[in-house]
Symmetry: C2
Subunit: 335 residues, 2 copies
């Protein structure tokens, strides 16, 4: 069963989640994760019995989006954390949830190749599941992400996204909240709103501006062609979008992934939502002014470079493509 | 030319280092990095002209270890940082050095398959180059690492290690120093010495104990079969080892990599040295008691799992092999 562990050298929670039935020596195989062929794909219509019991589908009957538990969950449905220490070591039960959103019945086409209405349905599903998990009470953060392509960490090629609910605010989220909070306390303004103004006036890293969203290549991009989708309206929480905003988000997500495909081919990528943590029932957030100071955004991280010793040792990334150049190429491409 | 950049959302330095002559669209190729064939390997004897001008060789004449500049350096030989800010963005010249240690003239055998004397020569070379770069004056950290195998980030298969000197103390090093410092200020003892005592008395994560070194699977391992080589003698700086200690380190490194190979086959891995930063000339370290409180160690990180959206979003790792199980298997294996 999954366990959260923290040691004295790194002081960061790690998830130890032994895969069911997999023994250490099974790691001897050096092949890429098996990409299931169409006939046997557990995410294809007709194979619904191959997944764990369904959490959600829309519409009822012949589904267009479906949500199921991850077969090898990173975190599980424990009732309580039961933290315990032993000398310099801390551990807790791996309390959480790990869901898979099957983006489409179509095995072979990713979000940018699907009709706008289908992507809107996917976004509606994200919002629905994020809201349900936030209401559970045991979780402090709900992480939405998508792994695309074998080099993006996808073990099944049928288009899908994932949602993991964690019982703590993860360190990467804490770091971003810290940056926003420091800025807010210094200036009384939202860091992301300020950044958007700067970027729109500089222009050189902007890929697309629409009525409700900006797409830009961040100044400190860690990966070639890294992108940020940022709402132009101030909003701390992804799930608070109106129906109209959700439809606009589906559109900008679809167009941005299409730009990457049209420039780079079927590029492996991860996308990652950075949104508000879940307030503790009856206590709220550690930072009470979070709704004024935090601003959600989506990161898209193409996986064209490999992390290796330098990155693990230093925590620093090496990016061979300046974001100004990435933005210039992506601006010019068909969406 | 390489540039260090820091943005307002992440507040971490990133290296933007455009590869000479490589254009963004060259990233369209989705193949693994080319592993050069024997005849054309720039690291093989006879092909010395294929590398940038040599920095060091030992012995003179028919070399057994050779050091050359990296052809695509992450950081370069600028005279000064010249930091500059523009709105919320900071940048500096990418001051540094990036060297490649060619571990052996033998194209096909990694450290654990070479004679003890050869590995001792490699360790002597590490110490020599780390010391030279520390004496340069412009660098605050010198990162030694090794990438093995295509999935470990190696673009050439001929056994080699790398050294990057950075003009700042990298964030991952700062985090470890912070943990050691907090412990030292609370208890007056070295964190790693305390951890070693705990681990030796628990026993379940220990892989090997020799006169001068302990090999263990850390409690909070982020990767399956992650290992730590820790000197049993307190020492803040890798380069301060005596000749006898260096020979013992060569032995434990060789045996530990052999254990991994004998258990898992030719597993891709990174190893990463965590050692003392370089004191600023005339100023010393920010933490004056660093030599009493810090303790170098080498991390070995097999690359059997893939980082993806969850890890980027949260900063948390998922490890499917409990370190106690990894240690049990590695203890039982031939070295």
């Amino acid at each position: 069963m999954p366990e959260l562990r923290k040691g004295p050298l790194l002081r960061r929670w790690v998830i130890v989640a032994p895969e069911r039935g997999k023994r250490p020596l099974d790691f001897r195989t050096e092949d890429a994760p098996e990409i299931k062929r169409r006939g046997k794909c557990p995410f294809c219509p007709g194979n619904e019995h191959m997944t764990p019991p369904e959490i959600y589908r829309v519409p009822a009957g012949d589904w267009r989006v479906r949500v199921v538990p991850n077969k090898f969950p990173a975190l599980s449905d424990y009732p309580a954390l039961n933290p315990a220490s032993q000398g310099p070591f801390l551990k807790m039960n791996g309390v959480g949830a790990h869901e898979v959103v099957i983006d489409t019945p179509d095995h072979a086409h990713d979000l940018d190749e699907l009709p706008q209405e289908q992507v809107e349905l996917v976004v509606e599903t994200y919002v629905h599941r994020l809201r349900c998990l936030a209401e559970d009470g045991r979780f402090r953060y709900v992480q939405l992400f998508k792994n695309h392509g074998a080099k993006g960490g996808a073990s099944l090629s049928h288009p899908h996204s994932q949602i993991v609910a964690t019982p703590i605010v993860p360190p990467e989220v804490e770091a971003r909240l810290g940056a926003a909070r420091d800025h807010y306390e210094r200036s009384g303004t939202c860091l992301v709103c300020t950044l958007l103004e700067e970027e729109l006036s500089a222009g050189e890293r902007v890929v697309e501006v629409s009525e409700k969203f900006v797409v830009l290549a961040p100044y400190d991009s860690r990966f070639p062609f890294e992108l940020l989708i940022v709402p132009r309206f101030h909003a701390h929480d992804f799930v608070a979008m109106t129906q109209e905003e959700r439809a606009a988000f589906a559109g900008v997500l679809r167009r941005t992934l299409a730009r990457l495909r049209n420039l780079l081919g079927d590029v492996p990528y991860n996308f990652v939502l950075q949104t508000s943590p879940v307030p503790e029932p009856g206590k709220g957030w550690d930072w009470p002014e979070l709704p004024s100071g935090y601003h959600w955004h989506l990161e898209i991280l193409p996986r064209l470079t490999q992390l290796a010793g330098f990155e693990w040792g230093t925590g620093m990334y090496i990016n061979p493509v300046p974001p100004e150049e990435a933005a210039r190429h992506l601006r010019g491409v068909k969406q």
